[in-house]
């Protein structure tokens, strides 16, 4: 049933599917113009920041991992970094490499889950992976195999794939021997082919035109694609403005969270502007630091070469991918990169003398940020003399992306209406796709899609 282009109406999607957590959406359309697009995260509040107070400085990694079952490693490692920062501890060498390996496992597993089980059905016109498996079984099986390899890394290093037990402040409870890592190396060789095939598979999807109008925000390192650490870096939407960075300790001065009436998740803004974190932002900020193989895959996939390394402008080094539909391609390239990184770390691994460095409690404030599969995840803790948490602040990627997702929704629905796709079913589909492009993790932000369209 097609709606008239004039008159007012409100469309309500009560529960968004194939995303983690619970979200509803409300659209207001006045005479064929979308005047409001609101993502309401109605995930019930779980009060982590409140009940962390009074806990010992060793507890945030295990406690905060329970914010999200999809990216527990991201929570554990951001928490570790923040506590270590407050206590003046530095984790480097092979322990840092093992952390990156663990994180590669979560990237492979989580990005692959999104690509194959949650996102690809949109491009192939299926409701879910089970339906998609009837016509694309080999692709689904490849996705499950790849995901299993990511899980195998997290399981070996962490004990289990969801809420791993082996991470602790300063490193690990137990580090693996070289021999224990060897079976992973074999699986990863197969995974490398699977990851290439995944890039080629998604590159054949049909990508609608779209552009995300937001500043891109990701951690950056000087010599490697940032995953488990880095400096917050902003690539403004206006191409004439240069990228800028700020020290992590200044995060609270730049990122401000505000509460909006329609959501249990707080909305974050970067210097008062809309911003986006996640795969598109990482590729824009650090794409030139990908491995040659991952860059080749990106080029072959038609992604457009990333921003050049300063001073190395050359032919073919074009712009930045801002099309949220193509985020699936960037994710596929990141999976390939993570597989290669994991292989490299395993090849260079020497078991460290001690599984962790001491992190003695002290009074102070610490900041920690890492690149969760869905984007930059920031933690801050303040401690008293006894090492008890006095204050905790956690800014997840989805809270940061909400503004950009709402703007995407507004634009995509408007484009749909302009093409004459005005029925509730058509709009619901468009909205769900727009949201899924960003792989929001709603459990994290507080939490799926309920669409509410008001047409006036």
């Amino acid at each position: 049933m097609s709606q008239p282009a004039t008159g007012s109406q409100v469309l309500r999607i009560p529960a968004l599917t194939r995303v983690e957590g619970e979200t509803a959406l409300r659209l207001r359309i006045d005479d064929g113009t979308v005047t409001e697009a609101r993502l309401s995260i109605y995930e019930p509040p779980r009060f982590f920041e409140a009940f962390l107070r009074g806990r010992a400085h060793t507890e945030p990694p295990d406690l905060t991992s329970r914010i999200c079952g999809i990216c527990p490693v991201a929570y554990q490692l951001s928490a570790c970094r923040a506590v270590e920062d407050a206590c003046g501890a530095v984790v480097d060498g092979q322990l840092a490499a093992l952390r990156r390996l663990l994180y590669c496992g979560e990237w492979i597993e989580s990005q692959t889950l999104h690509i194959h089980l949650l996102h690809a059905p949109d491009f192939l016109g299926h409701d879910d992976v089970i339906g998609m498996s009837r016509s694309h079984l080999a692709h689904v099986e490849r996705g499950l195999r790849l995901k299993q390899t990511g899980n195998a890394i997290v399981e070996l290093l962490g004990g289990r794939a969801i809420h791993p037990v082996n991470v602790r402040l300063g490193g690990f409870h137990r580090t693996p021997t070289r021999t224990e890592l060897r079976p992973l190396a074999e699986r990863l060789r197969i995974a490398l082919d699977d990851a290439w095939d995944t890039v080629r598979w998604v590159a054949r999807f049909d990508f609608p035109d779209a552009e995300c109008d937001a500043d891109l925000f990701a951690l950056a390192e000087t010599d490697t694609y940032a995953i488990e650490s880095g400096v917050p870096t902003v690539l403004p939407y206006e191409k004439t403005l240069p990228p800028r960075s700020f020290p992590l300790r200044d995060f609270p001065d730049h990122i401000t969270e505000e509460q909006v009436p329609h959501s249990t998740a707080l909305h974050a803004r970067l210097d008062g502007r809309r911003h986006l974190t996640g795969s598109l932002a990482r590729y824009a900020v650090s794409g030139h630091l990908l491995s040659p193989l991952a860059l080749e895959a990106a080029r072959e996939a038609g992604l457009g070469a990333p921003r050049p390394r300063a001073g190395t402008e050359g032919p073919g080094w074009g712009g930045v991918c801002r099309n949220p539909y193509r985020s699936i391609l960037v994710r596929a390239v990141e999976v390939l990169y993570a597989v290669e990184e994991a292989m490299r770390i395993i090849a260079e691994y020497e078991r460290p003398a001690h599984p962790y460095v001491e992190v003695p409690a002290r009074a102070g404030v610490g900041h920690g940020a890492t690149e969760a599969p869905r984007g930059l995840l920031y933690h801050r803790y303040a401690f008293d003399d006894a090492g008890r948490v006095t204050d905790a602040c956690i800014v997840p990627p989805t809270a940061q992306n909400q503004g950009a997702i709402e703007e995407d929704l507004r634009r995509m629905v408007q484009a749909g209406l302009d093409r004459g796709e005005g029925s509730e079913a058509e709009l619901t589909r468009l909205c769900e796709r727009a949201v899924r492009n960003h792989d929001p993790c709603i459990s994290c932000s507080a939490h799926f899609l309920e669409l509410d369209i008001e047409r006036t």
Partner: protein, 269 residues
């Protein structure tokens, strides 16, 4: 999920979420080797995290994740129960209120004010309670998160029409069977293994750390015997209180009420 070419007689599965991290539902998607098999044995009728085609009840097997923490939850779990032939809770949130039950010992108005500038916009209950506090439950699967093997056993048992083979003993049994060195005996590391429900295969001791109780209390426990050991290993009453009151706070608090040890009545704020 999709029903297009499916034979009509398969039992219908529903997967529902309340206050939680999604980790226990994700365990279902993490059954990579069994997922497509499960989908041929069961019709996945309702699973928002996995499918865009939720179908209405009734459901033969409902898996419920998460705790009851808002007024809307209270109504929704009653509707789901009425629609479900067999209802199984999955995970510490659904069986014991989860980590969010730490609010049960606190002032929720103050918690709201600590997190939100406008607490009045947020609808929440002062407590986070297990599903069984609201409706009858046919089976409770423990763990934060649940164990994949145990989940497959619960589904298999349901399909075979028998009771799930999930023993009630403590992590220590699994630890012995695995041939681990006891971390408490050998290293003086405090460990909740003796009072914690088995299911994980004694993961933490295998990695050299003490169990932190993520599966909740075992069928039989002896807290008064364990508390002095933890004192010996340098924990204060307050430390022990925090140790027990984490992911299964309500379940361990109930044990403590029946077997008073020396832990503090008041948990952390």
């Amino acid at each position: 999920m999709s029903t297009d070419t499916a034979p009509p007689a398969r039992p219908r599965l529903g997967v529902f979420k309340f206050a939680s991290c999604d980790g226990c539902q994700l365990t279902l998607l993490d059954c990579e080797d069994e997922l497509l098999g499960i989908a041929t044995e069961l019709e996945i009728a309702y699973f928002l995290e996995g499918s865009s085609a939720p179908a209405p009840g009734p459901y033969d097997l409902s898996l419920v994740e998460g705790s009851v923490s808002t007024p809307e939850h209270v109504d929704r779990i009653r509707r789901i129960r009425a629609d479900s032939r067999h209802l199984v809770t999955i995970g510490a949130c659904a069986t014991a209120g989860g980590v969010q039950a730490l609010r049960n010992h606190a002032d929720v108005a103050e918690y709201l004010a600590a997190v939100y500038a406008r607490p009045d916009y947020i609808e929440t209950l002062a407590t986070s309670t297990p599903i069984s506090a609201h409706v009858p439950v046919d089976f409770e699967l423990r763990g934060c998160p649940i164990d994949r093997g145990q989940l497959v056993e619960v589904i298999t048992a349901f399909l075979a029409g028998r009771k799930p083979g999930i023993p009630d003993h403590a992590v220590c049994f699994a630890c012995k069977r695995r041939g681990n060195v006891c971390v408490t005996v050998a290293h003086g590391t405090p460990c909740l293994g003796p009072v914690t429900h088995a299911g994980c295969g004694a993961l933490c001791p295998t990695y050299g750390r003490g169990c932190y109780g993520c599966f909740g209390p075992a069928g039989t426990t002896n807290l008064p015997a364990l508390v002095p050991l933890m004192h010996r290993d340098g924990m204060s009453d307050e430390d022990i209180g925090r140790f027990l009151r984490t992911f299964n706070v309500t379940a361990f608090t109930a044990v403590e009420e029946q077997e008073p040890g020396t832990i503090q009545k008041e948990g952390p704020r």
